[in-house]
Subunit: 437 residues, 2 copies
């Protein structure tokens, strides 16, 4: 037991390592996943050589801001997160005016990513210093394992077969022909069966916004018929439907879905759809920051918010989002992008600490096959990941694997996620449309 | 660094010690402070003899529930606060239907008190195990010291002179004659000067609801004239004005006040007053729980919520309240009841961790003269209390002092706070009125 912590450890080093992770040719509303998903791995090391790690979506602009944030982080006490956040926002907040979420399904704001990266790594350090898992620093475990859902995607036919997923390395193969069997619910059901068998998931999410609405509704209905009401089912066209389209096709899924995610864009549009449907709406595109919550409450644009610690500014902020959802009788679920085990385990610690996170979480993890943590790929049992009970995040960075994935990054010439450009490589006439149908 | 905390320390003992603390004859809207304020001191002790302490308002019913909660607490991991809270509310929540806040200026709900007591003591233990001050487990310091305001009261003339305060033991003397010089702003100004000189406070709050509105408005105007706009000033009639009265007399204080606290009862009434006045309204009586926040937001019944970890269910819940206030552009300030140093220091750790707690906090501490912590009374410098940097709360229970104050409790025959009955001893015709003017 130390008697005075003004003399506690300080951060002496910040390492920012961009990596490129094999990713299968998944389709979405703005285009196509590139052959590699970019992630950035952050390591903070204290002057007494305790290290903390985190992982965020990769993007050279964010990486640069992370590197610049080193001037504020080096020398800081890893427990003084409130001070670190304030200094970050004071120093770099002027860029925030241009720091917009953007029209993509993912969030492009830089400061929330940067602070999330630093917060998670600092919490990892805190846990190691305290000898406690991160979840215990966040209020403790509401559950001992965290359930995820089977996250289905339309996908280009690749070397691994028409609808394989990334645990089979062949399934990440790249195919120049856009020939997904989208109108065919059987193939989506087959994908679900394969993924549920492998991981034990008990619920399903289908990413849509790719094919004309009725084709995707057919897939939803097909899933419902195949799995019945005992398997909660969600669908997400990523906001590319007009209000009218969302209402028309939403009605056809009222009996099938647990919730409908971002059927259209904007809080006003979502609120209009919600009034017309007997179906809870969820979002990670229309209410995506604390600043937007009051208007989202006023309009009641959604019933469920999908948190994501990379976009909401860290684990503690996401837990506060959970308290806000509980207070305003909104549901809380969790969004994901292509990610590796560091993000997965951070999600698990956070989800374990939120009493009202009662939905199975989204995760792209089954679609990736690489890993950067010692011991390799995280295991799912019955669709759940056990909350680590080791100090900190409870995982260790595999520097050899990190080096290999960093080499991928150097060789792949990608600087940010750009699904639209990837799609144009397949179909030069393809265009981004905020509202497609 | 421990490798597995499933084997971590467990709580082996819960000690609940009711105490009676000398309290001066302060007047308020529901009556008169008794000669003793009741508090309850909680000690939790782990099987490896780490102890954590906390302090809550004293009340035999709450004490009984605390004792009963021992069956859930003994054997628990002090880091598993989410689980402890859930079990408490599952076990005792059925009484919550009758667990109402009540019409008094203070909150009478039992479960929030009980959980607050356990949470603060567990956080004290956690800090000691981790070797870090509690503030560091809550996100770290937004400020190194926490500012309080001079909390003025109308007061019966006691042995210590007409308007002395509790640092002079004589000032806690008890006088059967109700002869406060309330209509006399000079005496209130003198009280403010004395308290500000002793403690260095930079802002003032006057507790009203005692005398006819114009007399109290005169005191507010007198304070404003004496101290000028550089000293923020608040006034709190504890909800005993009608909407009409609140608007009429509120208008007369628009230029004088930083905020007007609970001028009337209920969210509807507060919202009506707020629409009529050019003056921020604050509350610890109309929006007092997470359940009431949505309606408070919808009606905009107040601009500022006064947190209080004893009433909002602990430090983490109060910090979440802060995030809600920040999100909904409400201010956050902090309420107090008569208390000793354990509550004061818990308030300090929490206030230090809330970025948007930008108002000086309320505290009754200058009115008490007893203490139960080693080293005696907490020191204020320039109206501020430094955030302890020792592990846990950074204070140690003085068992001899505790024993003495527990003897006070056994001898005083008080079982709960009942300012109305106290007032009837002075003035048998006096009656509680929810709205007096």
């Amino acid at each position: 037991m130390k008697s005075n912590n003004m003399e506690g450890p300080r951060i002496k080093e910040l390492k920012v390592t961009p990596i490129a992770v094999s990713d299968p040719p998944l389709l979405n509303s703005v285009g196509l996943h590139a052959p590699y998903a970019l992630r950035t791995v952050i390591e903070l090391i204290t002057d007494d050589n305790v290290s903390g790690i985190s992982e965020i979506p990769g993007n050279t602009e964010i990486d640069r801001l992370l590197e610049k944030s080193g001037e504020l982080i080096i020398g800081a006490d890893p427990f003084q997160l409130n001070r670190i956040r304030k200094e970050l926002f004071n120093r770099f907040g002027s860029t925030e005016e241009t720091d917009k979420r953007g029209d993509n399904p993912w969030d492009s704001r830089k400061l929330v990513h940067v602070y999330s990266a630093i917060e998670v790594a600092c919490l990892d350090i805190q846990g190691k210093i305290c000898g406690r898992p991160v979840v215990d620093l966040l209020g403790g475990m509401c559950r001992e394992s965290v359930p995820f859902c089977a996250y289905l995607f339309y996908k280009l036919k690749g070397a691994g077969g028409p609808l394989g997923f990334g645990v089979d390395p062949d399934a990440t193969g790249w195919d120049a022909a856009r020939q997904a069997a989208a109108g065919n619910p059987e193939e989506i059901v087959a994908q679900a069966r394969a993924m549920m068998k492998e991981f034990g998931f008990k619920s399903i999410k289908l990413k849509g916004g790719v094919f004309p609405p009725q084709e995707e509704v057919n897939a939803v209905i097909g899933l419902r018929k195949a799995f019945g009401p005992g398997v909660p089912l969600r669908f997400d066209p990523n906001g590319v439907w007009s209000v009218e389209t969302a209402i028309k096709y939403g009605k056809r899924m009222e009996d099938a879905l647990e919730y409908l995610e971002d059927p259209t864009r904007g809080q006003e549009g979502m609120a209009e759809v919600r009034r017309a449907l007997n179906l809870p709406l969820a979002t990670n595109m229309c209410t995506t920051s604390f600043d937007e919550i009051p208007e989202g409450v006023r309009l009641w644009s959604e019933d469920i918010i999908l948190s994501d610690h990379h976009f909401w500014g860290g684990l503690r902020e996401s837990i506060s989002l959970g308290r806000i959802c509980q207070t305003f009788r909104k549901g809380l679920s969790m969004h994901s992008n292509s990610h590796l085990g560091i993000s997965l385990i951070a999600m698990v610690h956070m989800a374990a600490a939120i009493p009202n996170l009662t939905y199975d979480l989204d995760t792209h993890y089954p679609w990736q096959s690489d890993e950067v943590i010692v011991g390799g790929r995280v295991k799912f049992e019955e669709g759940r990941v056990a909350v680590p009970r080791e100090p900190g995040l409870g995982i260790t960075l595999d520097h050899e694997a990190l080096g290999k994935l960093h080499n991928n990054y150097k060789n792949c010439n990608l600087t940010k996620r750009d699904d639209t450009s990837e799609m144009k490589k397949i179909d030069p006439d393809w265009e981004f449309k905020a509202i497609r149908w």
